[in-house]
Symmetry: C2
Subunit: 362 residues, 2 copies
């Protein structure tokens, strides 16, 4: 059995910043990227944290990402902006865009910013959560290459574009929904493969449009079901939400969408031209802030007090599991998979960075 | 077998306006209500059209709705407003709120309006669609008394609060998603009861938290599954979306939420204090309008061109089925259930209104 490996979140962040600086990022951009990645690890969302470096670094080394992008605001009013990310790292473009969105929200009460010419930006919830310290509601989405099979279709046609919504509370952990619009994110398929488990019925289609069980086949075919599954159980809703997010991320920004999503070869040359969506709303315009937060606490506690199903002793609100993971990981270190740690160690060697992220055993 | 009964949409609208005037509404409010109801019938969404009169009229006759409400704007900035509906008809409050939202969007490019102290407002998609003639994206939601059982719970705790998003296109029918955040809307349970059919697996829970088949039991217990169903197939996402909509509709507006939702007895005295949410975005701020519409056409056509599953020859985009129904119903008359027509006829008698809505047989 593998022993659990824990790493210090602060040292991990410094390490990743160092790495991106070595790769060629200006320090501020390296810092923004490491913050976004390690924030995901801290919440236990490994699919969007430093394990992504295994894919990011080779792309950067091949020159497929612009590490010194000229990120421009193409259009702007007091409540909106369109950003061109100049094929920069998604975390850099995303952080810049959400910061602009928050600045506009401070001035106007509400704002929406969309970005094009970007790359994979990690966890949508990271950008939504950036609104919380300002007592704003935050929202974010990104588009992605097609993985969702539309209702009555037999091929993927739209990305499993996530919906992230973060809402501040008082004493309770904030509400933080971060969901793929497919039944499960592709990350869960990868995890099943790593653990040598079968996919659960309803997650993905096999070639006969029955439910697939083999994760390796799905990583290739990318035939995920929309949230809701088949038509009888509301799959057209997940499909519809994915399409709506594609419009916000792809069409409003002028990014890739539909058949304009690039092939892997094209993406190597010009970047994937992904699009993102960011929004913030100042709750204090609507209700006095303290009252709103007290109501949020009341509502979240009410939900958690729902009578429990047999075999369950707890009902969760969105983001609560991640909140508790974060408390543990801040104090005791982030649990990383040994393979991930191995990759970090080899990056440390390659880029001549001191490898001092491991937690001392208690 | 019942013969199909079709009614003229324009005459139906005049009839319903007349009815609400007779019941005590000012003419403008009666007109707003009939427009919202008949618009649903025209789209084939019978659950939110004139069949609702069977419930609405008795409530009005008992004095549970304020037909001459003082609808006030409680808070306002150039991008937002909070409306107090003074227990007016939901369609009156909703129409007024969305009109204000559209006016603000014309001036500011984007706006969000929430309303409290309202009643059942019918079809969420009606308000979202009000944005389309302005070439805006429209959104709406409403809260409702609890019908969704949270993941790991055994009682309903949050309403199946809908998400409606309408997006203008060029030559293609507009994208118009209008979805309950439960697997199926309660209206589908009522329809199953009327047709003496069983519920499909995954729609609702029985008392042992297996899937229910008896529609009558569910109309009583109100134990719907969230979109996504069980935890393994993403039910926590539908539950999370319902909670997020409750915050937008209930908490931001100061309406009922959680344990503050009123009992049927309380609702008779003071109204249900339901809350609604409305939003609009001017797409031309982001992209030149004609370009955006051409992209929408391209994207919707691309989705419809997805290879088809065996046994299916067509893939739909959201709102397309309703769009075609509307074309038929505008030309040939709206199909109404005989029981619904009987109710309209008895209302005509009671309130001394000429009953001239039936289409002549061809």
């Amino acid at each position: 059995m593998n022993e659990e490996i824990r790493v210090d979140h602060d040292k991990l962040r410094q390490f990743v910043t160092w790495l991106f600086t070595r790769l060629g990022c200006p320090h501020g951009d390296a810092d923004a990227t490491s913050r976004a990645l390690v924030a995901s690890d801290l919440l236990g969302v490994e699919s969007h944290g430093v394990p992504l470096l295994a894919g990011y670094v080779p792309r950067i080394e091949r020159g497929a990402v612009n590490l010194t992008p000229n990120i421009r605001t193409v259009k702007e009013t007091p409540v909106m902006a369109v950003i061109d990310g100049d094929n920069g790292l998604g975390q850099v473009v995303g952080t810049r865009a959400m910061e602009l969105c928050l600045k506009k929200t401070k001035e106007s009460g509400m704002a929406m910013v969309v970005a094009r010419n970007s790359n994979h930006y990690g966890m949508a919830g990271y950008y939504a959560r950036m609104a919380l310290p300002h007592d704003f509601i935050g929202m974010s989405s990104t588009n992605a290459t097609p993985t969702i099979v539309p209702t009555f279709g037999k091929a993927p046609a739209v990305g499993n574009n996530p919906i992230a919504i973060a809402i501040p509370a008082g004493e309770e952990p904030p509400f933080s929904l971060d969901m793929a619009t497919s039944t499960v994110a592709m990350g869960k398929v990868s995890i099943a493969l790593r653990k040598e488990e079968q996919l659960k019925p309803g997650w993905a289609y096999n070639e006969n449009l029955g439910f697939a069980s083999d994760p390796a086949a799905i990583l290739k075919s990318r035939m995920l079901t929309p949230l809701g599954g088949l038509r009888d159980t509301g799959g057209q809703k997940g499909y519809g939400l994915a399409v709506a997010m594609e419009v916000f991320c792809g069409l409003l920004s002028g990014a890739s969408f539909g058949s304009r999503h690039l092939t892997p070869e094209q993406r190597e040359r010009s970047g994937p031209n992904l699009g993102h969506f960011f929004m913030a709303v100042d709750v204090s315009l609507f209700q006095p802030l303290e009252e709103f937060k007290a109501w949020m606490d009341e509502f979240l506690r009410y939900l958690k007090a729902t009578p429990k199903a047999p075999g369950h002793d707890r009902i969760y609100t969105a983001g609560e599991i991640e909140h508790e993971k974060q408390k543990d990981y801040l104090q005791n270190g982030i649990v990383l998979h040994p393979k991930v740690v191995d990759n970090l160690r080899s990056l440390a060697d390659k880029y001549d960075i001191p490898f001092e992220i491991l937690r001392e055993k208690a």
